[in-house]
C-alpha cells in the first residue's frame, strides 16, 4: 500500500483545520455572526490527522521512543526488538479497533448526538477504530519488512 493515501488525506485534513480557523476569524471580524460551532469539525479533523500521521510514522519508524539502549545491540537483535515493538503497536491499536468499534456501535444504537452541532456522534468516534486499522496494517507491513531482513 503506498503511503500516498495517508499523505493526501493528512494534507487535506490539515488544510481543512487551518481554513476553518481562518474562516472563523474572518467571519467574526467582518460580520457579527459567530462561527465558533465549527470547532467541532476542527476537533474531528485533528483526531483524523493524529491517527493517519501515527500510521505514517509507524511505517517510517519515526515515533518518539528511547532508541538508545536498543541501538547499542547487534543488528539481528535490534531487528528482533523492532519486531517486538511493532507487535505491541498492533496489540495497542488492535484494542483501539475492537473496543473503539464497540463504542461507536453503542453511540449508533443509542443515537448519541454531538454536543455542538447535533450530528450523530458515531460518525466522529468511528474515525478512531477505522483509522486504528490503518496503523495496524502499517505495523504489519513493517514487521514483514524486518522479518525479510530489509532495513526499513
Amino acid at each position: 500500500m503506498p503511503l500516498k493515501i495517508e499523505e493526501v488525506l493528512i494534507a487535506a485534513a490539515m488544510a481543512g483545520m487551518a481554513l476553518i480557523t481562518f474562516g472563523n476569524v474572518v467571519v467574526r471580524y467582518l460580520t457579527s455572526v459567530s462561527f465558533a460551532f465549527t470547532e467541532e469539525y476542527s476537533v474531528v479533523l485533528m483526531v483524523v490527522v493524529t491517527m493517519l500521521g501515527t500510521s505514517l510514522a509507524v511505517a517510517a519508524g519515526r515515533h518518539i521512543r528511547i532508541g538508545y539502549f536498543v541501538d547499542l545491540q547487534r543488528p539481528e537483535i535490534r531487528a528482533r526488538f523492532e519486531i517486538g515493538a511493532m507487535a505491541l503497536v498492533i496489540v495497542c491499536f488492535g484494542i483501539l479497533f475492537v473496543y473503539g468499534a464497540r463504542l461507536t456501535w453503542d453511540e449508533y444504537r443509542f443515537e448519541v448526538l454531538s454536543p455542538g452541532l447535533g450530528h450523530p456522534q458515531w460518525l466522529y468516534t468511528g474515525m478512531l477504530p477505522l483509522l486504528a486499522l490503518a496503523v495496524v496494517g502499517r505495523a504489519l507491513g513493517r514487521i514483514i519488512r524486518f522479518a525479510r531482513g530489509e532495513q526499513a
Partner: protein, 428 residues
Amino acid sequence: MTGFILFGAFVVMLLGAVPIGVALGLAGTLAIWLAGQSIMAVPTNVYAGIAKYPLIAIPMFVLVGSVFDRTGVALRLVRFATALVGAGRGALATVSVLVAMVIGGISGSGPATSAAVGQVVTRSMIRDGYPRAFIASTVGAAAATDILIPPSIAFIIYAVMVPGVSVPAIFAAGMFPGILAGIAIIVPILIISWIKNFGGQMRETEDRLTVWGTFKEAIWGLMAPVVILGGMRIGAFTPTEAAVMAVFYGLFIGFFVYRTLTLRDVYEMLVEAGELSAVILIVVALASVFAWSTSTLGVIEPVAKWIVGLGLGEYGTIALLMIALIIIGMFLDGVSTFLILLPVLIPIANSFGWDLVWFGVILTMKIAIGQFTPPLAVNLMVSCRIAQVPMEATIPWVVWMILAMFVALAMVVAVPDIALWLPRVLGY
C-alpha cells in the same frame, strides 16, 4: 501491586524502544484489566484525550514552524544579525543563539529549531574557524530556549493539563525566562570563543552585508513573533487562531515577498506538519489511558504525599524535582515528560502553594536543559547530525552552557517575578 505492574511494564517497554505512546497506552490498559475495570475506558479516554479544542493549537503551531522553515526566514535572520554584530571572535556563534531565539518565537519545538538554525549556520561557522563539536553544542543549547519563548508546544500541553493555567498566561510567563536563558548561553559561548580564538577567521566575505539591506529582508521574519504574540495580546486571536494567522502570513512571505515557495511545498508542509503533530498527539491520546488508570488505582497520591513528607522544604523539594526532571529530560522529550509526571507534580506544587504558572515555567526550563544534556539530548542529536560529529565530542563545550542555563533557572526559582511579571501586567 497493580501500581508496580503499571510502572514496571511501562519502563520495560520504554527501554525496549517501544514507541512511548504505545508503552503508556498498553501499560494503562494492562492495569485497567488487572483492576477488573472495563476495557471500554481505553477508547473512551483516547478519544476524549485528543478531542480537545485547545490542542488544535499544536498542529497549527507545528505548521507555522514548517512554513517558516521553508520560506528561508532563518537564513535571512542570520544575514541580518551578522551584519549587525560583525564578524569578530564568537560573533557568529552569538548570532546563531539570537536567531534561534527569534525562531523560537515562531516555532514551538526544540528539535525543529535545532534543525532550522543548524542547517543555516553550520557551514559558515566551520569556515569562520569554529570546531564542529562547538557548533553542535551552540546550536543544540540555543534551540533549547525555543520551548520557553512562546509559542511553545510544551506550554500548550501544560496549560491543557493543569486546570487554572491559560495558554496566553504561560506563554507570557515564558518570555523573560527564555530571553534570560538565551543570554545565559551566550556568556560561556563568548568566553570560550575569546579564550580559544574561535571565529572571525573568514577571510573573504563573499558579499558585503549592509545592515539596511539585510534588515529589509529580515523584517518580515522578525515581524512573525509580533503577529503571533501581538495578536494574542490585544485579544484579537486565540492561540490557535494566532497560529493560523502566522501560517497565512508565512505563506504570504514565501509566495510574494521571498518568492521561495511553490504549491508543491505547501502540500509537503501540510503532510510534514501533520505527521509531526500526530507523533506528539498520539502520545497525548494514549497517555490519557495511563493517567486514567493511575488516578483510578490511586497510585499517584501516595507518591506525591511521600515526596512532600520528606520534609525537604520548598527549595529542597525544588532541587529534588530539578535533578529528577533533568535525568528524565535526558531520555524523554518535554511533552512526554509532562504527560507522565504532571499528575504527580501538580499535587506537590499545590501542597506548597506554588504559583502554577511559575511552576510550569521552571519545569519547562528543566526540560529545556535536559534537551541538550548528553547522551540522549534530543536537540543535540539533531545539531550533531548536521555538524557530523558524535555527541560525545560536544561534552567539553556543552557542560558550560548547561551550567549557564542552570544559573538562569536558579534565578527564576529565586525571583519568580522574572516569569510572573509579564503575565501580571498583561492582565492574564
